[in-house]
């Protein structure tokens, strides 16, 4: 069963079995403004929770995207290089940046669900 999770760094994660589809939240997109480039990770790269694995560049600034879990990058969304507006789509509908094969499912327990993330963002403004 798939579910959505969130990090305090504004990554959004769609969990499909042992694969995490990772993107950035609407809050992060709004804060960044117009996007101009995404630097995708290499397939096969081993990442630890908290590692920078992609970079989203907006007109204003560069924002690192951090891995929410330990694992291996198994796919990167090449379509996004040609169409940055994909990032605004739901994760499972093209808005994902990379897919990470989760090596320690217990790390998912530390992530926020949608309601918790909503409260977290409300507390930031």
């Amino acid at each position: 069963m798939a579910e959505l999770k969130f990090t305090s760094d504004h990554e959004s994660i769609y969990i499909d079995g042992d694969i995490a589809w990772v993107g950035i939240t609407k809050y992060a997109q709004d804060a960044l403004g117009d996007l101009v480039f995404v630097e995708l990770p290499e397939i096969g790269r081993q990442v630890s929770k908290g590692d920078e694995f992609a970079v989203v560049e907006s007109v204003k600034t560069a924002a690192e995207v951090y891995s929410p879990v330990d694992g291996e990058v198994v796919e990167a969304n090449d379509n996004m290089e040609g169409d940055l507006e994909l990032i605004a789509k739901p994760l499972a509908d093209g808005g994902w940046i990379a897919k990470i094969k989760i090596s320690d499912p217990s790390q998912l327990d530390g992530l926020m669900d949608e309601a918790a993330y909503k409260d977290y963002v409300a507390g930031l403004d």
């Binding site: 403004g33 117009d34 101009v36 480039f37 970079v55 560049e57 007109v59 204003k60 560069a62």
Partner: protein, 369 residues
């Protein structure tokens, strides 16, 4: 506590994303985002609140001679209404600020200085001000820029003032529709035809609302102001030009008077004019994908560091990554292959001629001659 311009409430009401700039809470961009704003200025007319910039007058007998002590530019020969882009130099030949100075009358000049340099500039000028001259800082005065190919039409249709005979880099005093004194300067920071209107705060609010109703006008934030000036290769204080950089290495030889002498830092600048400089400011265009920003190191093909980026970002007009950099003079030739180090990776790039996008104004260089 951030300072507010006279137009602050209007920005907030219109839903602008606000951010701090030089101690002011300023609009970074409005609803449509930076890229659309940028392109709108290139095709129609953008309206910018630049009231955070400092507006001063210096007046008295001998004021033109005094300005030739503060800057390397000629002011005695300027006729009334003529504007000159120039730099305040320090004793070491570095740059205290860049500014535009306009002759209002025989003994009065008007200057617009950078927001972040106001206190420093005013202190510097006062320190050297001859007793018969006075400096007046107009803290409350607002400044609105209209920039783009339709700017003249907007100004004529909204304020009913004919600017068809006002040449680029010239200013004229006029009246607002409500009878207040305003100063209209034909110049800007985007490479487009355009105007800066120096007005009292209440006039600024009415003018902003009036321009807003014109179909060719959209408000533009500071983010697009930066990408527009970057496409033109215009220097931004604190980035391309600083207290350490000289106007010669920054490519500003054209601001200097032919026989200028006796200004602060003259010795270094004269020496650099005759002998050249070790590094030069150039354009950089990435050929690899990515964005290179300020501070990125530049290397040659052998991995030797040959320069550093002073500004960098995305060019909405070219849909490419561009920037400016100081590069060792022997390699500072357009077409030179270079590499920009971004997060540990070397991205291929070329040294490029400036501007990246042709200026639609008569060039500042010609206007200054």
């Amino acid at each position: 506590m951030l300072k507010h311009t006279a137009l602050h409430d209007l920005h907030v009401k219109s839903g602008a994303r606000m951010g701090e700039f030089a101690g002011y809470d300023m609009p970074l961009y409005y609803g449509e985002g930076v890229i659309k704003e940028h392109l709108w200025v290139r095709e129609a007319c953008g309206m910018f609140d630049v009231s955070h910039m400092g507006q001063v007058t210096i007046e008295g007998e001998g004021v033109a001679e005094f300005l030739e002590r503060l800057t390397p530019s000629p002011f005695q020969e300027k006729r009334q209404g003529k504007a000159q882009y120039t730099v305040l130099t320090n004793e070491q030949g570095g740059i205290i600020d860049d500014l535009i100075i306009t002759r209002l009358s025989e003994h009065q000049f008007f200057a617009v200085i950078n927001a972040g340099c106001k206190e420093k500039d005013i202190a510097w000028v006062k320190e050297h001000l001859p007793s018969k001259l006075t400096l007046n800082y107009m803290e409350e005065r607002a400044l609105i820029a209209l920039q783009g190919p339709k700017a003249a039409k907007v100004l004529e249709e909204t304020l009913q003032c004919d600017v068809s005979d006002l040449p680029y880099m010239n200013a004229r005093e006029g009246k607002s529709p409500c009878g207040k004194d305003i100063l209209i300067s034909r110049l800007g920071y985007t490479g487009e035809d355009g105007f800066e209107l120096s007005v009292p705060p209440d006039v600024a609010q009415r003018a902003w609302q009036g321009f807003s109703k014109h179909p060719a006008v959209k408000p533009i934030g500071l983010a697009a102001r930066d990408s527009l000036r970057l496409e033109m290769g215009y220097a931004l204080y604190g980035h391309e030009i600083t207290a350490e950089t000289s106007p010669v290495e920054a490519g500003l030889n054209w601001v200097m008077g032919k026989n200028a002498s006796g200004y602060f830092g003259c010795e270094r600048i004269q020496k650099e004019l005759s002998e050249g400089t070790a590094r030069k400011l150039v354009g950089v265009k990435l050929t690899d994908k990515g964005i290179a920003r300020e501070g990125a190191e530049i290397q040659n093909g052998d991995g030797k560091v040959i320069g550093v980026m002073t500004s960098g970002g995305h060019s909405p007009s070219l849909q490419a990554a561009i920037g400016m950099a100081y590069i060792d003079t022997p390699l500072a030739e357009a077409g030179q292959d270079i590499f920009v180090n971004v997060r540990g990776r070397n991205l291929a790039a070329l040294v490029a001629d400036l501007p990246f996008v042709p200026a639609k104004t008569k060039s500042m260089k010609k206007a200054a001659a």
